[in-house]
Amino acid sequence: MLVEFAMQHAWLVPLLPACAFVVIVFLARPWQLLSAIVAVGSMATACFFATLAAIGIFTNHEYVEKPLVYATRWFSLGLPGMPDLRIDVGVQLDPVSAMMLFMVSFIATFIFLYSIGYMKGDPGYSVFFSYLSLFGASMLLLVLSSNLLQMFVAWELVGLCSYLLIGFYTHKISAREAAKKAFVTCRIADFGLLLGLLSLQIVFGTLNLTELAGKIEHFEEFTSFGMLTLIAVLVFIGPIGKSGQFPLHVWLPDAMEGPTPVSALIHAATMVVAGVYLVGRTMFLFHEVPSAMQLVAVTGGFTALFAATIAITQREIKRILAYSTVSQLGYMMLALGVGSLSASMFHLWTHAFFKALMFLGAGSVLTALHHKADVWEMGGLVKKMPITAWTFVIGGLAIAGIPPFAGFWSKDEILVSALNSGHYVLFAMAAFTAFLTAFYMWRMIFLAFFGAENPANHPQESPWTMTVPLLVLSVGACLAGLLGTPWHNVWGEWIRFGEAHEGPVNYGAMLLSIVLAGAGIFLAYTLYLKDAKKKRARKMAEWFGPVYRMLYNKYYIDELYLWFNHALVDGTAKLFYLFDIYVVDGIVNGIGAFARLSGDGLRVFQSGRLQNYVLVFFLGVLAVAVLMAFSGSTTAAGLVLGGVK
């Protein structure tokens, strides 16, 4: 009964946080605690509904093939019966969106809760919760969208919230710049996505997901294969930006300027996976175009490796996590590219838990250390902050891929599907990335939580509002992967594109995965924990001097973009502006000056003397008379018209 209601009114889920946003902005803002309660309460309620809706979906196998869709007209142009353009808004519930709906609302609830403690004392406390609520609403809307334009709206709104929250500490110039960078980078990507959507609308005449899925199967009736490829590539540009894929990943590490709950919620668990989600939703499109799939896979695989190499050398705790997020997003893309929606979504699901957990843990550490972010200046925190440290270790085990923690199962899924689809190079890259991941994560854990304590620090364990979410999420990080074990893959039955494939369990891949993870952890252990002075680590950095510097400076991509922006974009702008002032306006002013100068010239004739004027006047009279005499007309009109004739 209640489940039925939740399924039929799934739109309530995004609406609740949206209402919270409005209530906080217009009513509750002066009272900090009230604002927080409104935000958390609404999100918890939304989570409750989302859970019910998810239960409804996951108890009926029909929805896997036939999503539950209800939509209404948003606007239409042209004749009512036969519109030239009609855009619907609605809700599409199927296992994928139900899973996302549950995941987003669940994690958001706990991160909201965490924020109550984390943001304590901030002057913008209420505003922060209003932004968070707005974000929650937009993200849930994105998840539920039944129409690509509706999804795009939500997509941009989450981008806006991301912008606002990255730049939340408005007085910091770095935050301001990071926010701007995030928005503009995503905007560049959205440009591609928008073009893709426009093409879809123009070619297929609809943006409704289900209708599109039906039409693209027979795309030959509408368009050529080349066009479809182009569309797929254009659509994919959007996710490249939003999900921080190479080469538009640059904004994501900078986004860590925002408060940590934001990093956990938006830049780890939910918003950044929107790109993955979008590709997953439009799988029917990519499925038709193998070359686009290839592009997705290569982009994902490369990004995973690329970001992992950068993460090795970084020093700030949140930056390491950010690059690891980029890397993990690359995994998800890779999985999509090799055709496994199931594996991708599975990794998305597990990643949300352990990465949110790790970010919150990092936030807890940062609060304790008064925002000293360099992992080399930490050390031995496990003694003073046991809950934070051990939950963080669980997260580390999960992301490194140690069974039975969540990350192992999903990463294994991805490796297996890469292998099964015959992408051996990508498989190798992914496997190597797994090793690197284990290494840099544990490097961070060993440096920060173990080893000798730094006497300059006086850490304290965080309050319950912060530790409870950590505990809950760590449970998730432990257990979330058990849904999709290769022996009994419940996940793959529900969340899939096309047929569920039951292959033999690939023990070889599993073993390789474990070995690589173990090797990574062991290497980190030897370099950073066993060797208390970290001599070997320093020596390694010296040996690989240029490489180390290049990695530490993120391959100088930011510098390149900055140069491009300043020299090229701003330079061109300046050029255009000068052109405008001097050429376009010059012509305008030139015409004005011409008029003035000719006026000055003619001014000589305006003596101001009556008798001069009379003289000229009679000259005119004479002229007219002479004209009359010669044309033979006797009237002025005759004179003029006769002349024309």
């Binding site: 928005f183 503009v184 928008l194």
Partner: protein
């Protein structure tokens, strides 16, 4: 006869101006209140008209004076009527007019004269949108020019250019534009009268007669109108009045000018030039599209190089109007809808932008972006308004300007392909300059010299509330706007289509 609602809307500000003329000049508060009441009556009535317009029937409604000859020999009647295209524009005018009164709340230099001129300005703009007679249209248009000049020269501000220069440039450009227009209109009138034998200046009459003109005649007539309306809507390369003019003008004039006056150009292009001369439009459409796209990209780049807030918005409005021109050039249902809707959206956004900049200038006495920073801490409400306008400017979904831009993109991409892509790429540059201006003004370390600033409050909030509400409501319920515009565009498009099919048989 029904209550002549359009006439009432038109006359409410005039009445306010008349009353103002008899108010003692020292009674500042009374003066402001009278102006506010005058514009509010107009606003309320036009809202009423907007929501009582019957979209099922469509066509011209609230007709007034179609049988009231004014100049018999020229076939001029004082014909007021509204359809789905003029009503949004009328509503826009009143929204902005009402807000402009409150944005000028702190004008203390001769407020009586200021508000009288403002009322006249609003009346003139409204008149152009509800006139259904070409002569009356031109007449109202000329009414607009005079107050603008006076207001810029007396209440304006001199920055890069002096206010006298700005006022002169603005006025002369508008007049030159209307001169081309006038030639076009007279030629059209003479030609059509020669065909039909009975002089008729009403839109419908002219349009019907103009269909019998030869394609050649239509082509050069359209060229004249394009020049005229093009310089009004600041089509590249006739745009350079726009940034300078806005920079020199007082807040209210900038709001009305960028918000609605510019739209007279677009409105005229759609409802006069396109409607009457479809064959000419067909010929010029590709050129218009090119000009539109150049305008979008060029002005966006220009905005990127600016350091004065008003110049940023000035260039950005040129850029946005490029989209409108591009959309008109598409000549299909989606494009025309998008063009009109984008004019509405841009009007609301630009007015909000200018009112916020006006407040910033009033409080900090600067518009120079490097001199600012961190205002979000000191004046949060102002920052909200500014960001709302900025986000609408870069076409954020959920605000009123996204859907119009989307429809324009669809239509332009469909009709012009690669050219449209260049135009659509403008959204990136727009994001860049808008965010840069917003970030450098509002965020960053707060400056101690602005610590004493008071946030906007009381009447100063009205522009933010009124225009902000429209921005958000229009963004989430686009059908409120689009159903109305669609009911106006459909018959127009049908007429154009018929003419083009006939024209094919020439």
């Amino acid at each position: 006869m029904d209550f002549p609602i359009l006439l009432a809307i038109l006359l409410a500000p005039v009445a306010a101006a008349l009353i103002l003329a008899f108010v003692p000049r020292e009674e500042h508060m009374l003066i402001r209140c009278i102006a506010a009441v005058g514009t509010f009556v107009s606003l309320a009535l036009s809202l009423f008209a907007y929501f009582t317009y019957n979209q099922e029937i469509g066509g011209l409604q609230f007709v007034f004076g179609n049988n009231m000859p004014w100049i018999k020999d020229l076939g001029v009647t004082f014909f007021l009527a509204a359809d789905g295209i003029s009503l949004p524009m009328l509503l826009l005018t009143n929204l902005i007019g009402f807000s402009a009164v409150f944005a000028s709340w702190n004008v203390n230099n001769r407020p009586r004269e200021f508000f009288i001129l403002l009322m006249l300005l609003i009346t003139g703009v409204m008149g152009t949108f509800i006139a259904h007679d070409l002569f009356i249209f031109l007449l109202f248009y000329e009414v607009v020019v005079i107050p603008i000049y006076i207001m810029v020269v007396i209440w304006g501000s001199s920055k890069r250019v002096t206010k006298e220069y700005a006022g002169m440039k603005l006025t002369i450009y508008l007049l030159i534009g209307s001169a081309f227009l006038l030639v076009g209109v007279i030629a059209l009138f003479v030609k059509t009268t020669a065909i039909t034998g009975t002089p008729d200046m009403s839109f419908t009459g002219l349009a019907a007669a103009a269909q019998q003109l030869s394609p050649f005649d239509q082509t050069w007539l359209f060229a004249l109108m394009l020049l005229g309306f093009g310089s009004l809507i600041s089509m590249w390369p006739f745009h350079s009045w726009s940034p300078d003019g806005y920079a020199g003008a007082p807040t209210a004039v900038s709001m009305i000018h960028a918000g609605v006056l510019k739209k007279i150009g677009g409105y005229g292009l759609v409802k006069i030039a396109l409607y009457m001369l479809p064959l000419g439009a067909k010929f010029w459409a590709p050129y218009m599209a090119v000009f539109g796209v150049i305008g979008v990209a060029y002005a966006a780049m220009g905005a990127l190089a600016q350091k004065d807030l008003k110049y940023v918005v000035g260039y950005s409005s040129v850029s946005h109007m490029g989209y409108v021109i591009l959309a008109v050039a598409c000549m299909d249902v989606i494009g025309l809808n998008g063009a009109v809707a984008n004019m509405f959206a841009h009007g609301v956004m630009a007015a909000l932008f200018f009112s916020m900049i006006g407040f910033i200038y009033e409080k900090t006495h600067t518009r120079w972006i490097p001199d600012m920073g961190g205002l979000a801490r000191q004046t949060p409400r102002l920052a909200v308004g500014f960001m709302l306008a900025a986000m609408a400017s870069l076409g954020l979904p959920g605000l009123v300007s996204f859907i119009p831009e989307f429809t324009i993109f669809i239509s332009a991409f469909n009709n012009y392909g690669g050219l449209a892509v260049v135009g659509i790429a403008g959204i990136i540059i727009t994001a860049l300059y808008v965010l840069r201006a917003g970030a450098n003004t509002l965020f960053g370390p707060p400056r101690p010299e602005y610590d004493h600033l008071q946030d906007i409050k009381g009447p100063e909030l009205v522009p933010l509330v009124v225009l902000g509400t429209v921005l958000v409501v229009g963004g989430f319920l686009p059908s409120l706007l689009f159903d109305m515009i669609n009911s106006g565009v459909m018959p127009l498009h049908a007429a154009i289509n018929d003419a083009l099919q006939l024209g094919g048989n020439f």
